[in-house]
Symmetry: C2
Subunit: 469 residues, 2 copies
């Protein structure tokens, strides 16, 4: 028996009104927008009020099955009724029109809003949060916490005063006040596009070229062979080598790393996986060397891998020092456990808004909805269903579905396609919106309300695409 | 005859229920929050639903006249009815629950939302916008545009391809792909706290210490003597010297500046003013040397200086290349005019959300309200009224009101106080919430709906404070 649809008003299948996307109205709206806004990265001009559940509407009346979901950031469906209810509540109106400077003038209900949402799903052992606006600034806040903590340790503890030389040199961007420390990231990682995070991002030259960067180290991310269970020995060797490189870089890089930042699955970089053993090794290594571990769950967090946090798969004996979030959380920040990651003095980690209570309220509604519909377990199950069928498809079309990956990782599934860009373009002709990552990966990022019957439509489209390519 | 109150439900005067702030309920809420959120920078625990117009409520029922306004970021009053109307509209619900990745999947009404708000008040000559989330990322986006533009010029135009060496070195954070270029800022400037903007921020060591920074240049900001009209000759000399230093740094700094960033009035750094002639000189100088000029209007923009943009006071023959905004705009981004500031390829300036349509809708409602009530002209008039009375007060208490400044700059008024922190603490005892800036400045940042009768209450409080100090 088919499970009940979460969204009863979804169409039964994609609807294509336009012979080719964009249709005339989409093209007109896009041209209008491009007069004032850079639209060269436009993928689809959308009509959100007409979108529903897993389906993205266009201004021409097309309805596309959306397994890209605003770059992996819509969690519980377009026009989710429970979110709509919260969005029209008096508390939301208050949050929108009386935007507080949360560090100076928090609202009396800020603790309650946090506890209803962001903190209710805090990773194990990390019960504190510093709120932010997007993944990139969340990561930079975590970096700052790491640098401040590191210098505090080097100085001999939080009570040791800054020297006059430190205070003065910091004003000139010179050491010792502006220390020559670094953050270590991995090759093909993506952590954002601000100046600190972009220095850690190593996905594509187009993200980085012409922008000044810090001289920070990068370690090789283990390049595993798929399917993972058929290449266990060589993959374990690749992971050991990567850990050895991390250790070497930490011990030798002229600007010592205060932290290592890592994604559970390298998402923008092409859906590159590593094993729980690798991450346990990385946690053990960073603890041994006194370097903090920041897990960037901006894309992997909030259920898509079949666990609320992707790092829940790792069975870590000690939690990460910090975990950053954004995207499907619809708000952002970093979690931490150790109060020593609060700087020794106020105003060292501070900015005007420090997040947005309106987005934190949406987050709380998302958490409610995930619990009400048991969406994390649901996603694990649908992911297994989809992956099993994709294995069959890959067996039939091995040239088109290479290195299928994401088994047991919910719907966080990807494969390489030799004609990737044509594959993605063709998908639209069959009414499906799919995204790519890295050089040749097709990545699936459906919402948490993606169900078996949507998987069947997607699988059917896959077959049509490869036959048409 | 007194002008009509914009908010009829404001109290006639501040209300103090608590013998000392915070009252018991505020203290309890604050302790609760501090378990999960760093509250050491807390100023007042607020109750926003009970706040109204210029008055900030506390959970204990206190009502403070608020001339700090969430660090200069509330424009048209707490619980403004027009904003409440927009905040409960179906369009707002849509923006909140269907958050788009604006660069890839803009909504069909995004151009319209921009034109109703952000672009309706675009600075002269700068009809394009790149949207962001807060002042700090807005500035970093402007920096990236400047670096990309600079390298494009050096390369010989937008059509010249990247070299293989550039592409590969960028991935390693090394030149030539990661160029050794800089942004020039001024001493005592504040431009944000992310890694690029913090490298340009020179306000206080506590903002910068322990955080790695780029080796970027800083020029002296002219240190003017107040009142400006009594020190015209020496101030002009100070401004000439500052411009000469800017020219020297641009010509000699080993990492050449791609742009100069400047605040119209250095706000966090202590309300430091410079003359329109200085800024005209800076515009001429940067044009002559082929360096872009970014005007950071994050704190000065949106009416508080008696013009919509503070740089409207300068009468520039050529507009700035970019103008950044946030705070009272309640959304953020940078304006630009020249299409060459759109990078030659898509995805060079890009991120998942690229702003927030919900906040852009609030911005449009703010623009409406400013026009409906003619609030920019209003603020110019109330500012003149307040400044004239403060001059009298300063004449009577010269030790307490030093270097009164901001004449003709709307309500963007400040003065130095030898007992600044005590002054601010004492203000609360008389029911007024005021902020400081720099080492010893008291800065006034009332909302645009601050009226003459509020000025009278504030002036009365000033007198009580200095008598009590």
């Amino acid at each position: 028996m088919a499970p009940q649809a979460f969204f009863k008003n979804e169409p039964d299948a994609p609807i294509l009104k336009s012979a080719k996307l964009p249709g005339p109205e989409g093209a007109r709206r896009s041209a209008e927008l491009s007069e004032v806004f850079d639209t060269r990265s436009i993928n689809i001009m959308a009509d959100y009020p007409k979108s529903v559940g897993n389906y993205l509407a266009t201004p021409d009346g097309d309805m596309l099955l959306d397994v890209y979901a605003q770059i992996a950031s819509i969690p519980v469906g377009y026009n989710n009724p429970h979110l709509a209810e919260i969005a029209s509540s008096p508390q939301m109106v208050d949050a929108l029109i009386n935007r507080p400077a949360l560090g100076n003038f928090p609202s009396h209900d800020w603790a309650e809003i946090l506890k209803k949402g962001i903190l209710k799903v805090a990773p194990k052992g990390l019960g504190n949060v510093f709120t932010a606006l997007a993944g990139s600034d969340a990561n930079e806040l975590a970096f700052k916490a790491a640098f401040i903590y590191r210098r505090q340790q080097e100085r001999g503890g939080p009570d040791v005063a800054f020297t006059e030389e430190e205070l003065q040199s910091a004003m000139n961007n010179q050491k010792p006040g502006s220390p020559e420390l670094s953050i270590l990231s991995f090759r093909t990682a993506f952590h954002g596009r601000l100046f600190g995070t972009l220095s850690c991002t190593r996905s594509k030259p187009i993200h980085k070229i012409d922008i000044p960067a810090f001289d920070w180290p990068q370690a090789s991310f283990p390049q595993l062979k798929y399917p993972l269970d058929q290449h266990a020995t060589e993959n374990a060797e690749a992971e050991r080598a990567a850990l050895a490189e991390v250790e070497h870089l930490i011990q030798t890089w002229p600007k010592p790393p205060a932290a290592v930042i890592v994604e559970p699955i390298q998402s923008e970089g092409g859906d590159n996986h590593a094993s729980p053993a690798f991450f346990r090794g990385l946690r053990a290594l960073t603890r041994r060397l006194g370097v903090l571990l920041i897990v960037d769950e901006v894309q992997t967090g909030v259920g898509a891998t079949g666990r609320f946090w992707a790092h829940d798969h790792w069975d870590l004996p000690h939690p990460p020092d910090m975990v950053t979030f954004s995207k499907k959380a619809q708000t952002a920040g970093f979690y931490y456990g150790d109060h020593a990651l609060r700087p020794n003095l106020p105003y060292r980690q501070f900015n005007t808004w420090m997040g947005d209570p309106a987005r934190a309220l949406i987050n709380a509604a998302i958490v409610d909805e995930i619990e009400r519909l048991d969406l994390v377990r649901h996603t694990a199950r649908v992911g297994d269903y989809l992956f099993a069928k994709m294995e069959l498809l890959a067996a039939r079309y091995p040239d088109h579905f290479r290195d299928l990956r994401g088994k047991g990782q919910g719907t966080f599934i990807a494969f390489d396609s030799p004609k990737r860009d044509a594959f993605l373009a063709k998908a639209k002709e069959f009414g499906v919106n799919i995204g790519g990552s890295g050089a040749s990966a097709v990545r699936l990022r459906p919402m948490l309300i993606f169900q078996e019957h949507h998987a069947d439509i997607l699988l059917d489209a896959f077959e049509k695409i490869v036959k048409a390519l």
